[in-house]
C-alpha cells in the first residue's frame, strides 16, 4: 500500500514538476519516488497497515516480490529516461506521470484478490499505455501503434469482462478464494464457469501477448517510443503474468482440467510462432517484440504449474532476469539507434571495437535472454522447466527446442556488435552518464543473480 501511495503521489508530483520551469527535476522526482517505493516493497509488508483491505488488495510476500520486480524495472527505465526523453518538452511531466500511473495499475494487479480490483488494475495499467504508445504524436508509426493497441486492447477487455461476468454468474462472487471454493464444489461442471475461465484466459493472453492474441505486440512494440516499448516488454509483462498466476492459482486451480489444455496449446503456439518469426527480423525492436512474445510462451509454463510449490518463485525469477536483460538491451539500443538513426541490427556494427562496454552489456543481456548459462536467464528457464517438467514433458521439450532456435536471432546482435565492421567515418557515440550508471547497476544485478540466484527468493521468505 505504501508503495502504491508513494507512486501515486510521485506521479502527481511529476505532473506538476512537468509544468514548472525546472522540467529536468521530473526525472529526479520519479527516480526518488520509485526508489522509495522499491525500498518499501523490499522492506516487506507492514502488518495492520498493508492488510487493511485484504478483501481487495492483499500486500503479501507474493505481491511485494512481484512489485519489486516491476518497480525495479521502472526504476531502471527512469534511469534511461533522462536521455531517452530528451526531445520532450511540454509533455515530459505527462509522460512520467503516465508511466507512474501505469505502474500503480501494475501494483494493483499484483495485490488484487478480487476480479473487480484486477480488472481496474489492468485498465489503470493499460489506459496510460495506450496514450504512451502514441506519445510521439507526429510520428505515424507511433500513432498506428497507439490505435492498434487501443482498439485491440479494448476488444480484449470486452472478452475478459464477458468471462468475468460468466464466472461471477456461476460462483456468485468476484473474490478469488470464494470463486475457488465455489469452483471446487461445482468441480468444473458448470458450463458458464468453463466458458468464463476460457474467456478470461483469452483476455489475459492478450495482455501478456500470447498467441493467437499476440498480434498487437510486434506492431505496437515497433511503433512505440523506445523506452515505452521497454516498459511494455518488462513491467506490463510482469504485471500480466503475476495477475494471471495469482488468479489461476487461487481461483481456478480446482478446475485446472478446464484450462490446462488450452493454456498449453497457447504456450506451445506462442513460443514456436514467435521464435520462428523472429528469425526474419532485422529490426532490433521488432526482434525484441518477438522475443518478448516468445518469453511469454515460456512463462505460460508457470501458469500451467500453479499447483507446484515453487512455480511462483520460478515466475518471479524469470521475470526479474528477463526484465533486467531486456532493459539493458534497450539501453544500449537507444544509445546506438537514436544516434545513428538506424533501428536495425546494422546499427550495432563495430560496437565491440568502439564501445566494448556497451557491447559487453548487450552481449550479456542477449545471452541471458537466450538462456545461456551462467547468466540469470538460464536459471529462470531452469526453474520454469523444472516446475513443469513432471506434468508437461512434451511442452518442456518444445520450449527447449525453441530456446535453441532463439539463439539464432539473439546472436545476430552479438555478431553485429563484435564481428561486423562499423563504418569508419562514424562519429563516436555519446554515452550519457545516466545511462552508464543504469546499465552498470543492471550489470551488477545480473552478476549477483548469476552468482547467487537464491538472493532473489529472500523476497518470498520474509515474515
Amino acid at each position: 500500500m505504501t508503495a502504491l501511495l508513494i507512486l501515486f503521489f510521485t506521479a502527481l508530483a511529476a505532473l506538476f514538476a512537468g509544468l514548472s520551469k525546472n522540467r529536468k527535476s521530473v526525472q529526479t522526482i520519479s527516480l526518488i519516488g520509485s526508489l522509495l517505493a522499491l525500498a518499501s516493497v523490499v522492506a516487506g509488508p507492514v502488518r495492520g497497515w498493508d492488510d487493511m483491505y485484504a478483501s481487495m488488495l492483499r500486500f503479501d510476500n507474493y505481491a511485494m516480490a512481484f512489485s519489486a520486480v516491476a518497480i525495479l524495472s521502472a526504476t531502471l527505465i527512469f534511469g534511461l529516461t533522462g536521455w531517452g526523453f530528451r526531445t520532450l518538452t511540454s509533455t515530459l511531466g505527462d509522460n512520467y506521470g503516465l508511466i507512474l500511473f501505469s505502474l500503480c495499475g501494475a501494483l494493483c494487479m499484483f495485490s488484487s484478490t478480487n476480479l473487480v480490483m484486477l480488472f481496474l488494475g489492468i485498465e489503470i495499467l493499460s489506459i496510460p499505455l495506450y496514450v504512451l504508445a502514441g506519445s510521439r504524436r507526429d510520428d505515424l508509426a507511433s500513432n498506428e501503434a497507439a490505435l492498434k493497441y487501443f482498439l485491440m486492447g479494448s476488444f480484449a477487455t470486452g472478452i475478459l469482462l464477458f468471462g468475468i461476468a460468466l464466472v461471477y454468474g456461476s460462483t456468485a462472487s468476484f473474490d478469488f478464494s470464494a470463486i475457488g471454493t465455489a469452483a471446487a464444489q461445482s468441480a468444473g461442471s458448470s458450463n458458464m464457469l468453463r466458458v468464463g475461465i476460457l474467456l478470461i484466459v483469452f483476455g489475459l493472453s492478450f495482455k501478456v501477448s500470447a498467441a493467437p492474441f499476440h498480434f498487437w505486440a510486434p506492431d505496437v512494440y515497433t511503433g512505440s517510443p523506445n523506452l515505452i516499448t521497454a516498459f511494455m516488454a518488462t513491467v506490463v509483462k510482469t504485471a500480466g503474468f503475476a495477475a494471471f498466476f495469482t488468479l489461476f492459482a487461487t481461483a481456478f486451480a480446482p478446475v485446472a482440467s478446464v484450462w490446462t489444455l488450452p493454456v498449453s496449446i497457447i504456450a506451445g503456439l506462442t513460443m514456436t510462432l514467435a521464435n520462428t518469426t523472429a528469425l526474419f527480423q532485422d529490426n532490433f525492436k521488432r526482434m525484441m517484440a518477438y522475443s518478448s512474445i516468445a518469453h511469454a510462451g515460456y512463462l505460460l509454463l508457470a501458469i500451467l504449474s500453479v499447483d507446484n510449490a515453487g512455480a511462483d518463485r520460478a515466475l518471479m525469477f524469470y521475470l526479474l532476469s528477463y526484465s533486467i536483460a531486456t532493459i539493458c538491451a534497450f539501453a544500449v539500443f537507444i544509445i546506438v539507434a537514436e544516434q545513428k538513426g538506424d533501428d536495425t541490427f546494422a546499427a550495432f556494427n563495430g560496437l565491440g571495437k568502439s564501445h566494448p562496454f556497451l557491447a559487453l552489456v548487450l552481449t550479456v543481456s542477449v545471452l541471458s535472454l537466450a538462456g545461456v548459462p551462467p547468466f540469470p536467464g538460464f536459471f529462470g528457464k531452469y526453474y520454469l522447466f523444472t516446475a513443469v517438467f513432471d506434468s508437461y514433458p512434451a511442452l518442456v521439450v518444445l520450449a527447449v527446442i525453441n530456446s535453441a532456435i532463439s539463439i539464432y536471432y539473439y546472436f545476430k546482435v552479438i555478431i553485429a556488435a563484435w564481428f561486423q565492421k562499423g563504418s569508419e567515418n562514424e562519429a563516436a557515440l555519446a554515452v550519457p552518464a545516466g545511462i552508464r550508471v543504469t546499465i552498470s547497476v543492471a550489470l551488477i544485478l545480473t552478476a549477483v543473480l548469476s552468482a547467487a540466484p537464491y538472493l532473489a527468493f529472500t523476497l518470498f521468505s520474509r515474515n
Partner: protein
C-alpha cells in the same frame, strides 16, 4: 413483475447477452471506421453489463451491479482516451479508416 422475470430461465439472459456480445464482435471485425469499431466495443461492454445485472438480480447480490458501475467507469475512460487518440491520428492522416494503418508489419 420480478417474480415473473424469475420465471425466465437465466439461460435466456446468457444467450441474449452472448448474441449482443457477438454482434459487437462482428461489428469490430467488419467495420473500417475506427469510431464505429469503438462503438461496437461499447456494445460488447453493454452485453457484459446486461449479463452482470441479470446475474446480480438472480443471485440477489449487489456486487454484480457494482461491477457494472466500474465497467461504465472504464468504458468512459476508454472512450475519452480512445477518441483522443483517434482525433490525434485524424490530424495526421485525415482519416479514421483502420485499414489504412498497416505500415507496421511482418
Amino acid at each position: 413483475m420480478l417474480e415473473t422475470i424469475q420465471q425466465i430461465p437465466i439461460e435466456h439472459y446468457v444467450l441474449y447477452s452472448s448474441v449482443l456480445f457477438i454482434i459487437g464482435i462482428f461489428g469490430v471485425l467488419t467495420r473500417r471506421n475506427a469510431i464505429v469499431v469503438l462503438m461496437c466495443v461499447e456494445l460488447m461492454l453493454n452485453a457484459v453489463n446486461l449479463l452482470l445485472a441479470a446475474f446480480s438480480t438472480y443471485l440477489s447480490d449487489a456486487q454484480g451491479q457494482i461491477m457494472v458501475f466500474f465497467i461504465m467507469v472504464v468504458a468512459a475512460a476508454e472512450a475519452a482516451v480512445g477518441l483522443g487518440i483517434l482525433v490525434m491520428i485524424y490530424r495526421n492522416t485525415k482519416s479514421t479508416d483502420i485499414s489504412l494503418l498497416d505500415k507496421l508489419k511482418n
